[in-house]
């Protein structure tokens, strides 16, 4: 289901990331059917039998009086989760062959996720990284957190080259609560090196979603004549013929995407390829499905 508000080119014309996020999420929500699994937290969800160690404050004493059995009353509010967004701001993310660059697209996606999390009273945090951690906002559901997040996302500028190792090791020290970890990156790295870096987070009980942001020109370059390409991270240059771009390159990038998806799946992570030429709602839908699975 595509939403008319989620066209990236339209979003690019909206000034202010908060407005972009609000437009995306509300447009997306308006297109969904009403769901019992979705709503404000303090609503009754279910009863669960008391097990030793449960907090006695949650015991429904009325039920105990009628049945002499201890049941715990559970609310949606207790299903809140923690969303941690890892936004890649390496130099390669600055690429864009049309109105919306990869970093812009990643910003919209991150902002929309933050907005959605805020609507659900989820804790949300942010790590902006390239080869270093450039910005870190600890997960929180406090008032004003959304605007801090949006401000940090808006200020994320393309930096140097990508290196997952250092930032993820750094992140493991801060993540104390299990939750959702969303990695938004173009993943220009060997999948065999990316997944092992992320696996410790998975082992610690986090659900991990990899949003692989790629420009249409990166997926299927259409050069009509030989061009001199300059690597935006290393500044290396290379003269590339159209034949190669049409043939071998596409095979290699397809193999890379496939390998990354397969390894992510093998490690229990969700992988989602996001073409910046397509609407954002697919990314949001992926996030929601994973989040509901955690409730």
């Amino acid at each position: 289901m595509s939403q008319r508000f989620l066209d990236p080119a339209v979003l690019a014309s909206i000034s202010g990331l908060d407005l972009v996020a609000k437009t995306v999420v509300q447009g997306f929500i308006a297109g969904l059917h009403r769901s019992p699994d979705f709503g404000f937290s303090q609503e009754f969800a279910e009863y669960r039998a008391y097990t030793p160690g449960d907090d006695l404050r949650h015991v429904d004493w009325n039920v105990f009086a009628r049945t002499e059995r201890c049941y715990l009353k559970r609310y949606h509010g207790e299903t809140n989760t923690q969303l941690m967004i890892l936004l890649d701001a390496s130099a390669s993310m600055a690429y864009g062959s049309h109105a919306v660059g990869k970093l812009d697209y990643a910003r919209y996606l991150a902002a929309s996720l933050c907005y959605l999390a805020n609507e659900q009273r989820d804790l949300a945090g942010l790590v902006v990284f390239d080869e270093q951690v450039k910005n870190y906002l600890a997960p929180s559901a406090r008032h004003g957190q959304l605007f801090r997040l949006l401000h940090a996302i808006e200020n994320a500028e393309a930096g140097t080259r990508t290196d997952f190792t250092l930032p993820f090791h750094h992140l493991q020290q801060f993540l104390r609560r299990h939750g959702l970890v969303v990695v938004i990156s173009d993943f220009y790295e060997d999948p065999g090196r990316i997944i092992p870096v992320l696996e410790p987070l998975k082992f610690r009980g986090n659900d991990i979603i990899l949003f692989h942001i790629l420009d249409p020109q990166e997926i299927a370059p259409a050069f009509r004549q030989p061009v001199l390409l300059v690597d935006m991270e290393s500044r290396d240059s290379l003269e590339v013929s159209p034949d190669y771009a049409r043939g071998e390159y596409r095979e290699k990038i397809d193999a890379h995407i496939e390998a990354l998806g397969a390894k992510a799946k093998g490690a229990g992570m969700d992988y989602f390829l996001m073409n910046t030429g397509r609407p954002l709602d697919e990314g949001l839908r992926e996030y929601l499905s994973v989040r509901q699975g955690r409730m």
């Binding site: 259409a222 013929s241 771009a245």
Partner: protein, 652 residues
Amino acid sequence: MGFLSPWFLAGLAALSLPLWLHLLRRHRSNPLPFSSLMFFERRTQSSIKHRRLHYLLLYALRTALLALLALAFANPYFESARAPAAGGRKLTLLAVDNSFSMRQGDRLERAKRMALAAAARVAPQNRVQVLAFASQVQMVDAVQAIQPTDAQSSYAELARAVRSVAQSARMPVEVHLFSDMQRTSLPSNFADLRLPEGSTLTVHAVADRRLPNFAVENVNAPRRFVDPRKVRIQATVAGYGTDPATRRVSLLLEGKEQASKTVEVPAGGRATVEFLSLEASHGLSRCEIRTDSGDAFPDDDRYYFSVERSEPRRALVVHDDRDARGALYFRTALEAAADAAFSVDAIPAGAAAGVSPEKYAFVVLSDVGRLNAAFEEALGKYVHSGGSLLVALGPGAAPAKRVPVFDEPIGETRYTAEAPETVSWMNPAHPSMSGAVRWDGIRFYRAVKVNPGKAQVAARLSDETPLLLDKRMGEGRVLVFASTFDNISNDFPLHTAFVPFVQQTAQYLSGMEHDQQHFRVGAYLELRAGGPGAAVEVLEPGGKRALSLEESTRAKNLLLASAGFYDVRRPSGRHELVAVNPDRRESDLDLAPREALDLWRKTGEGQAAAAAEGETERKPVTLWWYVLALGAVVAAAESVIGNRHLSEARDA
């Protein structure tokens, strides 16, 4: 193969531009940023080959375009072989003389018969063009359509027309000339008879010997007269190749004989006869001098002229209220003429207010100070509608600071009794001073300096002061004399030059000077000096209108093509009878020398003989159009490929 404008080949130097652009200048690709080269590998060889091929094609097209442009401007040509003249097509020109002398006997009819016979002998592949020539050459559709004229024949004009036709036709020309071969038709400069290259001339003479001929060569009669008893008409009778003879000469008025005399004409000479009265009625009269020549060419035994008997024409002299001396001298000089054609009304300036200038032949302002405004305005209209004005300036007129009607400022006024000025320069061609009497010794003590403006200066004093100014204003004219006629500012009235000056000026101002008595056939009559205006009606000798309605309002001149009387009515109401006579050179029926005709034939024979020997003539065929068309095709191809190249660069 050659170039008609080879200096444009210098444009080939522009070929260095694409050479530098494509081969010498190092090509630099615009680097294209890309997110990562992780999956790319170097493939330079194929790309360079591709680019080189691409650029070489563009280079070739651009070089070809510049070269073709330079070639097109250089106008390349090749010489195509033209068919030999003898075996190829020719243009046969049948030139029939229809001048006045061809009216003798049946000369014209014989010429036409001979032309028809010549036309019948022309080879079928040749083109035939019939020309009728006298003083001008006309192309006619058929020999039978040729009519006799009164014009003089000119072989030079015929040769010029043949050269022009040959240049247009681009083929050998064969001229057949049918004429009485008059000696007087040959030009003074033999080079004018030059025939075009490759042409032949065949002369078909319709006269084989010189015929003796008498003709009235000229008539000298007054254009206008007042007293019939004072008229003096002189006629000259000439004999061409004649023996001494006595001839009777008659004066005819409106077709009726008025007087006749006999005259002895010497062998091949001239005799003059004089008639001393002409009892013509008032107005215009058609007159004719006729002689009973008894020769074979009676058409030239008469000579037309016209006269006008009129009352003396009135002239108005306006003088200063206190000084009439200038008017007195002017009037006396004007009335001193043998045939006083003017009567002078002299009035003081103060009495001029109600006077209408239109009824006067001309008006003289003799040192008048201040003019009545209404009279000055009337004078201005009078001049612009064709009237004439003479303004004499002296101490009375100088304070006005402006010459009336003439409308130019008056400068300083000089008075030098001790060292008077004299006339240092005068235009002898000006009608007022055309007589032989010089103005030496006339002393000018006072002269008024006037800015000439657009006026013509006819005389100057020794201090460069313009003495006589002539300016055309509208249809009329104004003369300004920068001194007076009163024998005070100068002693001009005491000199013999004064009376001729006054009389000639009066004739000039009244328009009599322009009235030429008679014209020759082929001359032009001036109808108007300015632009289009009121219609001038002209009736030909045959009584037909000579001009269409539009021509009558626009034509400035009229070709007098026929002998006889042209009846002209001008917009001012003036009626004229213009007598036109054939050129009397046509009366001399002497034949052109055979040697001259042989030489004339040879002017085009050399090339004709060469052509007859079968030498092929080369004809240049220019190729610039084809080269330019090819250049356009190359330019289009260059645009397509260049645009494709640019769009690919943009896409990349």
